[in-house]
């Protein structure tokens, strides 16, 4: 999986960085999961825990930055190694943002939890979060396995998240128009939805970075695809 260098310490430094990214990824996944669970169950103490734990990600990102710079300075990496290290820095900053977004969802839990909201309000958010989490998990799995042939599929799913977000947006607007008392919680939920949608965007960014690290090429801008599930309209004759 990794090339072997004459200096063994160099290999150790590179694996240390990738391990650190994986640990960050695990924390980020956990934070997103917990923040949405806190929102849906109005669990204020879980939300507090998310807010505290976000510091772990910040710290990990700083450490990865420092270590990466040190490796570059000391080993003067070339080609694949250089891409690997630059990729590490970029993925770390994406994951740190994911943590911030989860924290921001957690902060809104306190306000939303004040009045008991009907469960139907959260179903959309839950489904959206599930999509974003799947996206994040698959991207990080690809980082582990380096099998980039699956990665374009990961990016395609981002469209699904966007469509879901648009639909959720409309739904929340309807609730606000129905009853002005809904405006406060719905506005917060709207921001939560936006945050989760952005988590999906960061996952896509990470996918692009991994593709670049592994292949040395930028991911093709947008491949023509057959399955634009929610966008494409049907031809008139009704055939597939």
């Amino acid at each position: 999986m990794y090339s072997h260098h004459t200096v063994r310490a160099y290999d150790d430094e590179l694996t240390y960085l990738t391990r650190k990214i994986a640990a960050m990824g695990g924390h980020a996944e956990r934070l997103v999961d917990q923040s949405v669970a806190a929102l849906v169950n109005a669990d204020v103490s879980l939300a507090r825990k998310v807010i505290e734990d976000d510091a772990l990600l910040d710290e990990a990102q700083r450490e990865i930055d420092d270590k990466s710079i040190l490796v570059i300075a000391r080993r003067q990496p070339m080609a694949g190694d250089l891409r690997e290290i630059i990729g590490t820095i970029r993925i770390a900053s994406d994951l740190e943002r994911v943590g911030d977004l989860a924290k921001s969802v957690a902060k809104r839990v306190m306000v939303v939890a004040e009045g008991r909201q009907p469960i139907s309000l959260f179903r959309g958010i839950q489904a959206l979060a599930e999509l974003a989490l799947t996206q994040l998990k698959e991207v990080l799995d690809v980082y582990a396995s380096r099998s980039v042939e699956r990665i374009e599929f990961v990016r395609d799913r981002d469209n699904e998240i966007d469509a879901m977000y648009t639909s959720l947006f409309r739904e929340l607007l309807t609730y606000m128009m129905e009853d002005p008392r809904n405006i406060t919680p719905c506005t917060h939920l709207l921001f939560c939805a936006k945050n989760i949608e952005r988590i999906g965007d960061h996952a896509t960014n990470i996918a692009e970075t991994i593709y670049y690290v592994v292949t040395g090429d930028q991911m093709p801008a947008d491949r023509p695809k057959e399955d634009k599930s929610h966008r494409v309209t049907l031809p008139a004759d009704g055939k597939k």
Partner: protein, 425 residues
């Protein structure tokens, strides 16, 4: 005794003596050297020295190398290990039904058994476990074993997506000093699912049953009050109440079937289903309903539809729900087309089944969300069509378990197409 066996016996004792001499050669040499040293120091009795050396040789030749006790212990060891000699550890791992991963001192996967691949996707040798299992508690455990010199650890590991699973994971070293470790996952999802099912069922049921219940109690009140003597109204109200109770019954059925699905662990691997047969029987069973709604079901089956991995009853429910929906909500179109195509027809090499209706279609903003529980585009229409808001949620859940997925295309006024994609193996 024949000459041959005597020869044989002589040969064997010669080999035995040679072996004993070789085994005792250092002791013998030391003894001889000591005797010679004594002889050179006091050279009065050379024959004594010669006798002592001869005696040493005799003892070396005759003394048994091991005691009888030692010999029996060794024989026992040989017989107890011989059962496992020639047993490949790969076969042993494959025979374990729980996911099992063998990894080395660097944390890289050495071997993952079939159950592990089924549960966590391909785990090629060389993948670092720390990259694959990123949950903080797993990280702690693996690091404790790799770097902290712990020999065995246990933790709980849960996965949320794509399907919620909970495992109790143990890591232990293989033998002593082999540098290999084995990680075994025990599936604990069932107990967790039962808890969750109870909570979910109560939350959903209380919410969804309240509406019909409120309506029934309202009508009962009216029947006892103002409409007490109005025969015509009474009849009408009783009809409505009957519809509402039927709705509650359907709702409970659907909720139970969804909860049951969520309870079941992963599909049993290996079972294959003839897709064409399933779809045919769904169409046959729904033809009466289609006739009642004035809808004709047309078939457009491609050739060579492969069998797919899965559970027949569950897939039957998927297509039943989809075709039934198409007949109900696409009634105005007058026809429903069920088409099937093999993996040769598309780039993704998927087997696809499409159910296409020509009804009013689904507004774009609702499409991504129709598979959510109790999500209704038009509450009134859904109620008149005896919908519970769970049909597509059930479809989605079953397909996720089959690693298949559903796509929906629609244009307002032009019907909708629900397509099920089965991955090729």
């Amino acid at each position: 005794m024949s000459a041959a066996s005597r020869d044989n016996g002589r040969g064997r004792s010669a080999r035995l003596f040679a072996h004993r001499f070789r085994q005792n050669r250092w002791m013998l040499a030391a003894g001889v050297a000591a005797v010679l040293a004594v002889f050179f120091a006091l050279p009065q009795w050379p024959w004594v020295a010669a006798c002592v050396i001869a005696a040493l040789f005799v003892v070396a030749a005759l003394a048994p190398s091991r005691t009888a006790d030692q010999r029996s212990v060794e024989a026992e060891e040989v017989s107890s290990t011989s059962g496992l000699i020639g047993l490949s550890s790969e076969n042993l791992a494959a025979a374990v039904t729980d996911p099992l991963i063998v990894f080395d001192g660097a944390g890289a996967v050495v071997h993952a058994n079939a159950a592990a691949t089924a549960a966590f996707g391909a785990l090629h040798p060389g993948i670092l476990l720390l990259l694959k299992f990123r949950a903080p508690e797993m990280q702690d455990m693996i690091q404790a074993v790799l770097f902290g010199h712990a020999t065995a650890r246990q933790t709980d590991y849960s996965e949320r997506v794509p399907i919620e699973r909970v495992f109790r994971v143990t890591v232990s070293a293989v033998g002593r000093g082999t540098g290999f470790y084995v990680m075994v996952f025990k599936d604990q999802s069932e107990t967790r699912r039962i808890d969750r099912m109870r909570a979910d069922f109560i939350a959903n049921a209380s919410h969804e049953l309240r509406t019909p219940l409120a309506s029934i109690s309202g009508f009962v009140e009216t029947l006892r009050g103002p409409a007490r003597d109005d025969a015509k109204a009474r009849d009408q109200f009783l009809q409505i109440m009957q519809n509402q109770t039927a709705r509650m019954a359907r709702l409970i059925d659907d909720l139970l079937s969804l909860s049951r699905l969520e309870m079941k662990p992963f599909l049993k691997p290996g079972a294959k289903v003839n897709l064409r047969g399933v779809v045919e029987s769904v169409i046959d069973s729904l033809t009466p309903l289609a006739k009642d709604s004035g809808v004709v079901i047309e078939r457009d089956f491609g050739d060579d539809i492969p069998a797919v991995l899965g559970d027949r009853d569950e897939l039957f429910q998927v297509f039943e729900n989809l075709v039934e929906n198409a007949c109900k909500y696409g009634q105005s179109g007058g026809r429903v087309i069920v088409s099937m195509a093999g993996p040769e027809t598309n780039a993704e090499r998927e087997t696809i089944v499409t159910i296409r209706d020509f009804g009013p279609g689904i507004p774009e903003e609702h499409i991504p969300r129709v598979t959510e529980r109790f999500y209704r585009i038009d509450g009134e229409l859904s109620r008149t069509q005896k919908g519970t808001g769970l049909g597509l949620a059930i479809v989605k859940h079953i397909l996720t378990r089959h690693k298949a997925h559903l796509t929906i295309r629609s244009k307002l006024g032009d019907g909708a197409a629900f397509t099920v994609h089965f991955p090729s193996e």
